[in-house]
C-alpha cells in the first residue's frame, strides 16, 4: 500500500477544483445581484413601524402599500390596483411572526413585529393574486390568505 508522506498531487487538484467551484457559484450570485438586480430585503430605517394598513397612491400607476399582518389576516385586503402598477410593499406584524408571499411574483417576505420589511412588485397581468402567510402563526394559519386584485 502506498503511504505518502506529502500530500498527493491528485488531492491538490481536487482542492483547487473545489475552490474554483465555490468561486464560480459566488461569481454567478454577484452577477445576479449587481447586473440583474436580484437582491434580498435589507434594513428599512426610513419608515416608522405603522399600525394601520393602507394603500396610498403616490403617483399615477405608483402605489405604496402599508400592510399589517395580524392573526389571521392581512390588512388592507383585497388590495386593488390597475394593470401595470408598481407597488412598494411595506410590511409589519401586529402580533407574531407571519409570512407574506404574493403568488406569481417574487415577493416573499417575513413579517416581524416592530420591524418593517420591504419589497417592490410590478403587476402587468390583470387578475387576482393570492397573498399567502407561509410562516406558522397559530391554529388558523392555513386560513391566512389575502388578495391583490389587478384590474384591467
Amino acid at each position: 500500500m502506498s503511504v505518502a508522506q506529502g500530500i498527493p498531487d491528485v488531492e491538490k487538484k481536487v482542492t483547487v477544483a473545489a475552490l474554483l467551484f465555490a468561486g464560480a457559484m459566488l461569481a454567478l450570485i454577484a452577477y445576479a445581484a449587481l447586473r440583474l438586480g436580484i437582491s434580498v430585503p435589507g434594513c428599512v430605517t426610513n419608515v416608522k413601524p405603522f399600525t394601520k394598513g393602507e394603500l396610498i397612491q403616490v403617483a399615477p400607476g405608483r402605489y405604496e402599500a402599508h400592510v399589517v399582518s395580524k392573526m389571521f389576516a392581512f390588512k388592507p385586503s383585497p388590495l386593488k390596483v390597475p394593470k401595470g402598477s408598481v407597488v412598494d410593499f411595506y410590511l409589519t406584524s401586529a402580533d407574531v411572526v407571519h409570512g407574506f408571499y404574493i403568488d406569481g411574483t417574487d415577493v416573499n417576505l417575513m413579517a416581524i413585529p416592530n420591524a418593517v420589511n420591504y419589497a417592490q412588485a410590478r403587476f402587468d397581468a390583470p387578475g387576482k393574486y393570492q397573498v399567502i402567510c407561509h410562516e406558522f402563526c397559530g391554529l388558523s394559519h392555513q386560513d391566512m390568505v389575502g388578495e391583490i386584485e389587478v384590474t384591467p
Binding site: I29, I38, P41, N108, A115
Partner: protein
Amino acid sequence: MIQKDLRAVVLIELLLPLALLIFGVYHGVLQVLYRAGLIQDVSFFGIDYYQGLTAHGVINAIVLTTFFAVAFGNVVISQTLGQSVPARGAWTGCALMVVGTLVAAWPIFTGRASVLYTFYAPMKAHPLFYIGVVLLVVGSWVSFWIWIPGYLRWRKSHPEQKTPLAAVGIFTTFIIWQMCTLPVAYEVIVQLIPWSLGWTPGVNVVLSRLLFWFFGHPLVYFWLLPAYVMYYTIMPQLAGGRLYSDFYGRLVFMAFIVLSTPLGLHHQFTEPAVSSGYKALHAALTFLVAVPSLITAFTLAASLEHGARANGGTGLFAWWGKLPHFDAQRWLFPYLFMGLVIFILGGVTGIVNASYSMANLVHNTSWIPAHFHLTVAGPVFLAILGMSLYLCAGLSGKKVAAPRVALAVPYLWTLGTFTFSAGLFYGGLRGVPRRTNLGISFLDPTSNTFRPDWVTGEHVGAVGGCVMGLAVALYFYVLIRSLLAARSEQAADSFVLPEAAPYHDEDVAVVRNFRPWVVAAIIAILVAYVPPLVQVLNGEYRVTG
C-alpha cells in the same frame, strides 16, 4: 474495546429517542395525509396538526439527533482513546438529557407548546418547554466535557501518534455544538424563559431571531458530522477497502469547525432589520462549505472505488457493482451508501436555498422541507438508524435478526424520500407553503382558496411519506426482534466499531491540532456576526409580548 460500564448508558441514549421516534414518524405520515387533503381536519386522534408537527420536529431533529451524537460519541471516544470515558459523568449527561426530554414532552403532548421546533418568539410556549430544551442541551454539553480529560491524557501518552480520525470527528461535532448553542442558550434562558414565566413584558424579536439562526445552521452540521465519522472511518472498511486519504478526513473536519457557523443569515434573507450586504457576506461564506463537501465527495468515492477494485471491480463505473449493496452480512453498508446518494440531491438543492438570488423563489415554500428531508432525513437519519441498530445489537451481545429486512430498509427509505421530496419540490416552486395544514384550506375543493395546481405535488408527497413510514415500520420490526434475541456475553465483550485503515496516510501538521481552527472559527464568527448584531442592537426594536 468499548467500556463495559458505558453499555447501559449508551443503550438508554439510543433506545429512548428511538421509542419517541415512533410518534415522530407516525406524525410525519399524518402530515402528508393532512397536507394532501386525505385528512381534512384540525386534529386526528386528539393531536392537532401543529401540535403533532411540533413533536415531529422536536423528536426527530432535536431529541433523536442529540441523544444519538452523545451515544455514538461515548462509543467512539471509549474505543479510540483508551476507554477513557468516566461512567459517572456519562450517566450525569444522560440523566440531564432524559429529564429535559420528559420535561419538554409534557407541554408538547398536552398542547401547551405548539410552537414548532424553531419556537419563534413572540409565539409563546409553556415555560417547561424551554426549560426541558435547556436541560437536554446542557446534558449534551456535560457528556462532551467529560471526554476532554481523557483526550488530553491520551495525547500526552501518545505523543507520536495522530488522534484517531473518528475521535477527531466526534470532537469536531461537539466543538461546533458548544460554540453554536451558546447564543441560543442566551436566547432561551435570558429572553424566552423569563418572558414565558411572565417576569418580563416581552422580547426583542429581531435579536431572538439573529441568535436562533446563529445556532440553526451549525445545528445541521451537528446532525451531519456523526454520519461523516461513519463515512470516513467505517464505510471504507465495510466496502472492503481503505480510507483514500487520512489528511482529507482531518482537513474536512477541521474546516467544518471554521465554516459551519458564520453563515446563519442565509436563513434570514427575506427578513427585515439586517442589511442586505451582511446577508450577501453570509451567502458568500455559505458557499465555502461547498469546499469540504466536494473534498468529501472525492475522498469517499475514491475510498469506495479502492474497496470495490480490491473485490475485483474493474472499468470506469462497473466497479460500483462490486460494492456490498445487497450483502445481508454487511447490512450496514447501504444505510451509509444510500444516505450519500440522497445527499447529492440534498446538497444541490441546498445550493439553491443558500444562493442569495434564488431565496425569494423558495423561501418558506415546501421546497425547504423537500430539501432538508434529503439531508437530515437522508444521510443523517439513515446513518442514525443503521448505527443505532448496529450498536444496540452489538453492545447487548445480540445478533441482528432478519438482516435481509434490515438491508431493505435504506432502499425503501430512499425510494420514499425521493418521492416525497419530488412532490414537495414540485409544489414549492408553485408556491405551496411549508408548515401549513393544507387539507382544510388550499387543498379543500370547497374552500374559496382552493388551488387545483397544488394537488399533484401534495399527492406525490403523500405517497412518498407513506413509503418512508413503511420503511421505518420495517426498521422497528428488525430492531425489536433483535433486542428480543438471545444474548451472548462473549459477543458483547468483543464488540467494536469497524475502523478503516488509511490508504494515503499523510502527516500534515496543521490538521493535528484543534486550537488554530477554533481560533480561526472565533475570528470568522466575529467578522460575520458583530456587524449585524450591532445593527440589530442599535435598531429600536421594542420588546413584543
